[in-house]
Symmetry: none
Subunit: 397 residues, 2 copies
């Protein structure tokens, strides 16, 4: 990345990165073909013919990526080095606007018995409505530090500590098992002791406030973290990057990478319209397609096929913009048969005037094996896109 930073240069060419979430799949029992192979994708296939294709491992071979590492790799960061704390990720996932010195944490409402021992770490999975109600009771201020509590889903919430001189180097209160009391939070560094004290005060106050809200009569906190200090995509690539994503987590990740996050609607065609409307203002676009991953997670093979076909039908609108470089890939595989993310390598195509095409004539897991890119690492995709956009100068004389 330091190397890329010294070689990158501004230019008028434009790159579009199309991320079909959970794109990769596995053969369905009926057809013996993957979701992508089952889908009718005339536009992707035509694009593959004009592109260089391959398979990519977002993190490392064998590693099943979460959404954050999968996307960070596609943005060119090493996902193993650029760890994002759980608290920050949860905050990002509900579009919460973290500030530079905030300490964010992931919270669970839980149940404790009369002796203060945890009997249910999820408080019987209370409704999101109940969670919202309780969160409103918990916002408070301690020694000049604002504690902002926001619902996530069911029993999950975030607690963000905002104030001067806070540290995220503290232990967790969530014991992660039953039959024991919540843990006292401790500073892991000398300068984190004040923060630990404030967090403990918050937890004590929360216990009093929640006392009569059985089963949600206590709160557990973990994953204390600050925003990571990622160099922005503008610093690294000298790009003016924009993100188009309808889901909060992907907007948040884009913001961490320094992208402008464009307002858009909830449907894929809204995202494409946003791309069209803003095309002149940026030279890099990340556009996120969510429906594929959601269908894969639900184990709904046919719905994932349909989601891929919907994307395919909208691809011509993207190509009509005449971008210099188009990348199509996923942040990881989500095979419907696995009902979750998986480690399988993900098809990728890079289209440009200079891409050196290969013999791949359809975009699929099996066809991409014989692509000219071979098997690459997810974080190699940005340098390749930059090279194809003629935005990298020569290294060495």
């Amino acid at each position: 990345m330091e190397l890329i930073k010294t070689l990158s240069r501004e230019s008028s060419t434009k790159i579009i990165l199309l991320v079909i979430d959970g794109l990769g799949g596995l053969p369905g029992p009926e057809t013996g073909k993957t979701e992508l192979e089952n889908a009718s994708t005339p536009n992707l296939d035509a694009l593959a013919k004009k592109s260089i294709c391959g398979l990519q491992d977002p993190v490392r071979p064998g590693i099943t990526p979460g959404s954050a590492p999968g996307h960070l790799a596609l943005f060119g960061y090493d996902p193993v080095q650029c760890l994002i704390g759980r608290g920050v990720l949860e905050a990002t996932g509900i579009d919460f606007d973290l500030e530079k010195n905030d300490v964010a944490s992931r919270g669970n409402f839980c149940t404790i018995d009369s002796e203060g021992l945890v009997t249910d770490r999820r408080a019987g999975r209370i409704t999101t409505g109940k969670c919202e109600e309780l969160c409103e009771l918990l916002s408070m201020s301690i020694e000049g530090v604002d504690v902002i509590v926001r619902p996530v889903k069911d029993h999950r919430f975030i607690a963000v500590f905002r104030g001067e001189g806070l540290s995220a180097e503290v232990t967790e209160s969530d014991p992660q098992k039953l039959g024991v009391a919540p843990l006292k939070v401790e500073g892991m560094l000398a300068n984190a002791e004040r923060t630990a004290g404030i967090i403990n005060r918050f937890i004590e106050n929360a216990a009093l406030i929640l006392k009569d809200h059985y089963p949600a009569n206590m709160a557990l906190l973990r994953g204390f973290a600050k925003l990571p200090a990622l160099p922005s995509m503008n610093e690294i690539y000298k790009l003016t990057p924009a993100a188009i994503a309808s889901y909060p987590m992907y907007r948040g990740l884009s913001k961490l990478a320094g992208m402008d996050v464009l307002p858009t609607g909830t449907r894929l065609e809204d995202e494409i319209a946003t791309l069209e409307q803003n095309y002149e203002n940026y030279d890099f676009f990340f556009l996120h397609v969510k429906a594929t991953d959601a269908a894969g997670e639900d184990g709904d093979f046919d719905r994932k096929v349909k989601a891929i076909e919907e994307f395919d039908s909208l691809l011509p609108s993207v190509m009509k913009l005449n971008p210099d470089v188009v990348v199509v890939t996923g942040d990881h595989s989500t095979p419907a048969t696995i009902e979750g993310h998986s480690w399988h390598s993900v098809p990728v195509l890079i289209y440009s005037k200079w891409c050196r095409t290969d013999s791949v004539s359809s975009f699929s897991e099996s066809a991409c094996i014989s692509g000219g890119l071979g098997r690459i690492s997810g974080k190699d995709i940005m340098p390749l896109a930059m090279a194809n956009a003629l935005k990298l100068t020569k290294f060495g004389a």
Copy 2:
């Protein structure tokens, strides 16, 4: 590299590394095939059938290598870690024999106005003849340090400072823009201040000497550097290596890697004759083919095809020596359509009795995609060549 060093052993087997400079290409508009695919290469194709083939990235995917990093990778060094300073590279490029403690720099003759501000960083691109004449005037000795000034081409020259206790940790005098005065050179470390003072004295003297040589009435220096401390190929591989190259830069790079540089002629057949004559005396040969890159840089597709065909016609002479391992590849791609180096991966074949052949039956970008090597890094080639020569022992018990 530390690993290879512990595993390498001397043996009687011989390795020949044939580097076809700028080998990789892109499809030409007329045929839709690359230079290599257009060329008639019966001997390379026959060798590919007996070899293991693949594609290699000399530096990293997406990175366009200069000649120095491209070759260092092929010699087994990590080109991102083994940086060679500009001054050293320029000296290397004119076959100048740098000594261990020399500080070399790249110079430009330039034009300054009556107020001493730079008005042309290239002095109207004076002729090489004029450059030679001026360089002769500038050689001098300051406080026991010899300043050796040699012409490169047009307005370019090198200034080498030779003496005790010199440091390359100094700033540049070239402001790299117009309308400002040349910069005073400063030491970046305490022990570099004396060197900076000597360089400034040289520049002051040069200004006086050049005063009446408008437009070349001043000199700018940059890229101060000493020879890099590369471990030699003998230290790493226990090889007795020799280089056969008609162009100075490649001879210089070979010397940096500790090879014996054999005198040879300017034509490819001279190089092959040198190989034949010295075959008994070494166990590793690097032979450099320049014409392909020159044609690619000139955008001359057909001339690059012809240069590849010329190499192919001479390949049987190499094979007649019955070497144990033959590697054919390039230091980077130079597609004629790009008229310069590019990031595209480069075909590579490794021939040996033990190579495990694949199904590749012609040597080309498209055929090598399905080769048994897959897509590898340039610096992996030397360990593979060493292994095929049975010169690496087992790692671990």
